[in-house]
């Protein structure tokens, strides 16, 4: 076999090996476990488009829209404001957030008054966030009232579980 062919093959093999490494790194870059950089951009674009639409829309329609479900006031994060986990935030991305002492909860509460599966917070079909008590011993409180059924959460309303208080924020 000629020297030239072997040299080309040698360099070719190294190139292919490195190409594989580079492709693998590219896969990792775009694979950040469910978070997508592109989406934030497109969401902002969409938001701008809607603002424009709202500006052009006739007044009563606009009222209807803003009164509808306060879509522009949709919460983007959940913040723990009191208790041992104070300061923890969880981005709201349409996933169900479970709260409780169980290890697999989204927010693991280290609280004597919390049950292992205490409550969950999830978006309904329209994107309104709902809090539901999962039959906890000591109950879940929204503002001052104990929850008996799945209840929509308004922005900034304190949800109290034992010593922990959480809020939805923009």
């Amino acid at each position: 076999m000629s020297e030239l062919t072997l040299t080309v093959m040698r360099l070719g093999f190294l190139a292919v090996l490195w190409l594989f490494v580079i492709v693998a790194v590219q896969v990792i870059r775009s694979d950040l476990f469910g978070t997508r950089v592109t989406q934030r951009g497109s969401r902002r674009d969409a938001g701008r488009a809607q603002q424009q639409a709202a500006r052009q829309a006739p007044p009563q329609q606009r009222q209807q829209q803003s009164g509808g479900r306060g879509r522009r006031n949709a919460p983007t994060k959940l913040v723990v404001t009191e208790g041992t986990l104070t300061g923890t935030t969880v981005a709201l991305q349409g996933q169900t957030i479970t709260l409780g002492r169980a290890h697999d909860s989204t927010i693991v509460l280290d609280d004597d008054y919390a049950s292992s599966r205490h409550a969950r917070i999830y978006p309904d079909r329209d994107g309104q966030w709902i809090v539901e008590d999962l039959g906890s011993t000591n109950g879940t409180y929204l503002d001052r009232s104990r929850l008996t059924s799945p209840t929509p959460i308004s922005l900034g309303a304190p949800i109290r579980i034992g010593k922990t208080v959480i809020e939805l924020r923009k």
């Binding site: 072997l6 594989f20 990792i28 476990f33």
Partner: protein
């Protein structure tokens, strides 16, 4: 697969469930790539050595393709959200390793030796067995948390596996290290490779329960959190066991691997830097004191400090010295930046263990610095995916298990590569997936299987909220 937005009229701030993409097709594409590269290498070796494309090219390619294909289909069925990179990376390393083992089989010098056996067909068989175990792990281990129940059984199992090589009649002393056991009719196996996985299960289960005590009760001294005396118990026990391994099995690698894995997991579980400091001090003290009286370890240290002297002594026929360390360094040196090309090096001069402990030297000579860097990056990517899996895992047991397994994998690569390159004393371990050796290949495929299982659980999208049976009665009235 992708995010769902709301109806087109208000497609603004409602963020639908971002279904984690399963990425199985990415895996398939990479897997095809990972099969093509070794086939290319195989053809290259044949052309370089025999001037012809090797006759087994098609069957080898099909064999590797079949192994990869079965692995992929099983992942698709049983772990659809698992990490897309681990399987292709492992397949590529395994395939390239097979090619280099085959290349060393073709060496006239090695064929002339009395202990020569065709290693490549055996290695292909071991790889198939390894993928078989990988498939079994994915099918039968539905949830890695099941392993948590076997915490203390794992401890007992790991100890038995570690002690087996010392049992008279069963253990076998191969070139100074007692890390093999001989099973009549089946050949020898290295139980340490399997003990690695079992021990990771035990450490994960144990540390998950005890980490609060180990993390919180401590005094601050010079910027370090000093643990209380009684909390030092576990680390001392593991340290003592690893020292015993070093003394009785005279294997620095296994000893370092187990102690290192425990320290890594302890650090991850407690977030206390002091454990790392303690671990380093203890392992250094242990290794130095054992090296001062154990002749086998001493010899390894000598070969590390002055390989040239060892080489000349061995050439002069003095017993108890080795030429290999120096030969490996020469192999790396003559490879240069781009290497001599596959099949055109002289790394077969290393002779015994050229295709197992010293396989990296062949890579160094024939693929050069560029090739070895690529191989090390492939290992780094496997470790990175393991650590990423640990970050994404939701349960503490899975986190610790993933970090323990990838930490052990990283340590093993470091210990072997460092040993061959002369950074640390050489030990009797094998490069995962690359080197010839059944236990190593099989155990590491199982390790990849467990990591895939954990990453599948971690990346699986959360189930949709169950329909509420009272939904009819509790209609929410919105303003």
């Amino acid at each position: 697969m992708s995010s769902t937005t709301n109806s087109p009229t208000h497609h603004t701030s409602t963020i639908g469930a971002i279904g984690a993409p399963s990425r199985r097709n990415t895996e398939l594409a990479l897997l095809v790539f990972a099969v093509v590269i070794p086939v290319f290498a195989y053809a290259n070796v044949g052309l370089a050595i025999n001037d012809s494309v090797p006759p087994g090219l098609l069957s080898y390619g099909l064999g590797l393709g079949l192994i990869a294909g079965v692995g992929h289909l099983v992942v698709r069925k049983f772990a659809p959200y698992a990490d897309p990179l681990l399987l292709p990376l492992a397949t590529l390393l395994n395939g390239v390793g097979l090619v280099v083992i085959w290349r060393l089989d073709q060496s006239k010098r090695l064929q002339a030796s009395s202990t020569f056996i065709e290693a490549a067909p055996r290695q292909l068989l071991y790889s198939a067995l390894g993928v078989g175990l990988f498939v079994a792990v994915l099918i039968f281990l539905k949830d890695h948390r099941v392993l948590q129940r076997y915490t203390y059984i794992s401890m007992a199992g790991a100890l038995i596996l570690l002690i087996l090589p010392l049992v008279p009649g069963l253990g076998e002393n191969v070139f100074g290290a007692r890390i093999w056991i001989k099973i009549p009719g089946l050949g020898t196996i290295q139980p340490g490779e399997f003990a690695k996985i079992v021990l990771a299960v035990f450490f994960a289960g144990y540390l998950m329960v005890k980490r609060d005590a180990l993390a919180l009760a401590s005094r601050r001294f010079m910027g370090l959190y000093l643990p209380r005396g009684r909390d030092l118990g576990p680390i001392i026990v593991v340290w003592a066991i690893s020292i015993l391994i070093l003394v009785f099995e005279t294997d620095l690698g296994t000893s370092l691997l187990f102690f290192g894995m425990f320290v890594i997991m302890l650090y991850v579980a407690t977030e206390r830097t002091s454990w790392i400091v303690f671990g380093l001090l203890m392992s250094a003290a242990g290794a130095v004191s054992v090296a001062s009286f154990e002749p086998h370890v001493q010899q390894r240290v000598q070969a590390w400090l002055d390989p040239m002297r060892e080489y000349t002594l061995s050439r002069q026929g003095v017993v108890g010295h080795t030429e290999q360390s120096m030969q490996a360094l020469w192999a790396f040196g003559s490879g240069g930046t781009l290497g001599t090309g596959l099949g055109q090096g002289n790394s077969d001069l290393i002779g015994f263990a050229a295709n197992s402990d010293f396989i990296l030297a062949t890579f160094g000579e024939e693929l050069g610095l560029a090739g070895v860097m690529a191989i090390l990056l492939l290992y780094a990517l496997i470790v990175e995916r393991g650590v990423r899996t640990a970050l994404a895992a939701r349960d503490p047991f899975g986190k610790l298990l993933a970090i323990g397994l990838s930490g052990a994998f990283a340590l093993q690569v470091f210990v072997v590569a460092g040993g061959v390159m002369g950074l640390i004393p050489l030990t009797g371990m094998t490069m995962p997936f690359l080197a010839y050796g059944g236990s190593s290949v099989i155990a590491n495929w199982a390790l990849i299987g467990i990591l895939l299982r954990i990453s599948d659980t971690a990346r699986r999208p959360a189930p949709a909220p169950a329909a509420n049976p009272d939904a009819e009665m509790t209609q929410v009235v919105r303003p």
